[in-house]
C-alpha cells in the first residue's frame, strides 16, 4: 500500500507538472488536478460510494481500483455489435502495453442490471478471453446511471432489453481522476496508450 501511495504521489506530481494545457474538444484531452497523497481528490470518480459486484461475486467500490491507472468502459454482454468490438479495442490496448499491462486495471461496467449478473459476466470474461487484470462489474440502475454521468457515456434502454449507447474508453489516474477519453470503435488509441504510459512512468 505504501508503495502505491508513493507511486500515486509521484504520478500526481508529474501530472501537475505536465498538464497545463487547455481542454480540447477534438482530441478529447481532459486536464485534471493533482491532490494530496492518501485522500481521494475532490474531482475523483472514486468518490462514488455506490457498490458494485464483480464477476467473482465480490462486492466492491470504485475506490478499490485506486493505486493503479485504470481503463474504464461501459458495455452489456448481450450486445452483438459495438460491445464486443469495444472490448476487443481494450484488449488490443492491453496488448500494446506489453509487460506493463499488469500495472493497469481494466474495468468493464455493464449497463444491464437485469441480465448481467456475476455468472453472466464471468462467462463473458471467459468467452472474450480476458486476462486477470480485467474486472467486470454489475451495479444497480442507479449506480450505473451515476457512473455513466461521471464518464460522459450516453445510454438508453430499449424495449427489447438491449441498450443504445455511446462507446467511450476512459483513462483514470491511480487516484481516479479522469485523464483522457476517446470515443468510437476501432479508434486510433495512440494517444490513449501515450497517456497510460505517462501515468505508468509517473
Amino acid at each position: 500500500m505504501k508503495y502505491h501511495l508513493l507511486l500515486f504521489a509521484i504520478s500526481a506530481l508529474s501530472l501537475a507538472a505536465c498538464n497545463n494545457g487547455k481542454q480540447s474538444a477534438f482530441t478529447g484531452d481532459v486536464v485534471s488536478t493533482a491532490a494530496p497523497v492518501g485522500t481521494i481528490p475532490e474531482e475523483s470518480i472514486y468518490n462514488l460510494t455506490d457498490t458494485f459486484t464483480t464477476q467473482d461475486n465480490k462486492t466492491i467500490q470504485l475506490k478499490d481500483f485506486s493505486g493503479k491507472p485504470t481503463v474504464m468502459v461501459m458495455i452489456f454482454t448481450h450486445c452483438d455489435y459495438a460491445c464486443p468490438r469495444l472490448t476487443a479495442d481494450v484488449k488490443e490496448l492491453e496488448g500494446r502495453l506489453g509487460k506493463n499491462a499488469d500495472k493497469v486495471n481494466f474495468v468493464l461496467t455493464s449497463f444491464d442490471a437485469e441480465r448481467d449478473f456475476p455468472d453472466q459476466l464471468a462467462k463473458y470474461k471467459k468467452d472474450m478471453k480476458l486476462d486477470d487484470n480485467f474486472t467486470l462489474l454489475h451495479g444497480s440502475d442507479d449506480a450505473v446511471r451515476t457512473l455513466s454521468v461521471l464518464l460522459n457515456v450516453q445510454y438508453q434502454k430499449n424495449q427489447d432489453g438491449n441498450f443504445s449507447h455511446s462507446n467511450v474508453i476512459t483513462v483514470l489516474d491511480p487516484s481516479g481522476n479522469l485523464i483522457y477519453q476517446k470515443e468510437g470503435i476501432q479508434a486510433n488509441h495512440d494517444e490513449t496508450l501515450k497517456k497510460l504510459n505517462e501515468l505508468l512512468k509517473g
Binding site: 474531482e43 449507447h165 468510437g184
Partner: protein, 259 residues
C-alpha cells in the same frame, strides 16, 4: 354534549389545519397509466405502456431545498464536491443556510443552479426519485386545463421567445395541466434521471444517424413530429448537460412509484 362534540371536532379540524400548514410534505399527483410515444424513436422504442406513478405537483422550491441542505451538510454550498456540482451551485443564495432577505420572493420559486447529483440526492432523501425522460415527457404532454390560454406548443414557444426573467416567478405561476401538474413548461427546465440517454449530439439537422460505429442497436433515429420545435429544444438542452452543471433556469421535481 352535542355542543361539546362539535367543539372537539372544531378543535381537531383546526389542529389538523395547523399541522398541515407546518408540514412541508409536498403534494404529489397521480399520473394515470397510458401509452408513451417517445419523441425520438429508435427501433425498439415504439410507443410503450406507461404505468401510473406519483409526481410532485410543482418543482422543488428554494425553501424546500434549504431543508435538505440543513439536514445534509455535504450538500452545503461551501462543502459540496466539485465532482458533483460546479462552482455555480446555489450561487444566488446568501450563504450556505440562508436564501437571504434580498431573495425573499424566491422562497416559493423553484430552486435552480442545482446539479443532477444534488437533485438526485434530494429525491433520495425524500424517499422519492427523479423522473425518467419518458415519465417527464409523458406527464408534460398533458394539455392546459384552461384551454383559453392556448395550446401547449404555443405556450411553450411563447415562453422560450422571452428572455429569462430577472426574478424567477413562484411555483404555480404559469399553468396547470389536466393531470393536475403545475408549470411543466414555462417556468424552468427540469432534470431527469436519464438525461444522458439522448444518443446524439446537438447537431441533428438530418434527424438521422447512420453511425453504427458510435451507436449500438440504432441505425436510424427519427422523430415523432418534425414540427414539434418545443420538444427539439428540450432534447437539445438535455443533450448539452453534464451531471455537475448548475444552471440559472434548471431545477427539478420528483416522482415516486405507486405501491
Amino acid at each position: 354534549m352535542k355542543h361539546f362534540l362539535i367543539l372537539i371536532f372544531t378543535l381537531l379540524t383546526a389542529l389538523s389545519a395547523v399541522a398541515q400548514s407546518v408540514s412541508t410534505e409536498k403534494k404529489m399527483v397521480r399520473i394515470p397509466a397510458g401509452i408513451y410515444t417517445p419523441f425520438f424513436k429508435l427501433p425498439g422504442t415504439e410507443p410503450t405502456p406507461m404505468p401510473a406513478f406519483l409526481m410532485d405537483e410543482t418543482a422543488v422550491t428554494n425553501a424546500e431545498f434549504l431543508e435538505f441542505v440543513k439536514a445534509n451538510p455535504q450538500w452545503r454550498r461551501s462543502k459540496v464536491s466539485k465532482l458533483l456540482a460546479d462552482t455555480n451551485y446555489l450561487k444566488y443564495w446568501k450563504s450556505d443556510l440562508e436564501i437571504g432577505e434580498k431573495n425573499k420572493e424566491l422562497y416559493n420559486s423553484p430552486v435552480v443552479y442545482v446539479s443532477w447529483f444534488a437533485a438526485k440526492a434530494y429525491a433520495q432523501w425524500k424517499g422519492k426519485r427523479l423522473p425518467t425522460v419518458a415519465e417527464w415527457e409523458y406527464a408534460g404532454t398533458a394539455p392546459l386545463v384552461n384551454s383559453r390560454e392556448g395550446t401547449l406548443t404555443s405556450y411553450i414557444l411563447n415562453w422560450y421567445s422571452k428572455p429569462n426573467p430577472k426574478v424567477l416567478p413562484n411555483i404555480k405561476s404559469t399553468y396547470k395541466n389536466t393531470f393536475g401538474l403545475f408549470d411543466m413548461h414555462g417556468l424552468i427546465w427540469e432534470w431527469t434521471f436519464d438525461f444522458n440517454s439522448f444518443i446524439k449530439s446537438g447537431d441533428s439537422r438530418a434527424n438521422t444517424t447512420d453511425e453504427l460505429q458510435l451507436f449500438c442497436a440504432s441505425s436510424t433515429l427519427y422523430v415523432n413530429n418534425k414540427s414539434d420545435y418545443a420538444s427539439f429544444l428540450r432534447f437539445s438542452y438535455r443533450g448539452s448537460l453534464k451531471g455537475n452543471f448548475c444552471i440559472a433556469n434548471l431545477g427539478f421535481r420528483c416522482v415516486k412509484d405507486l405501491k
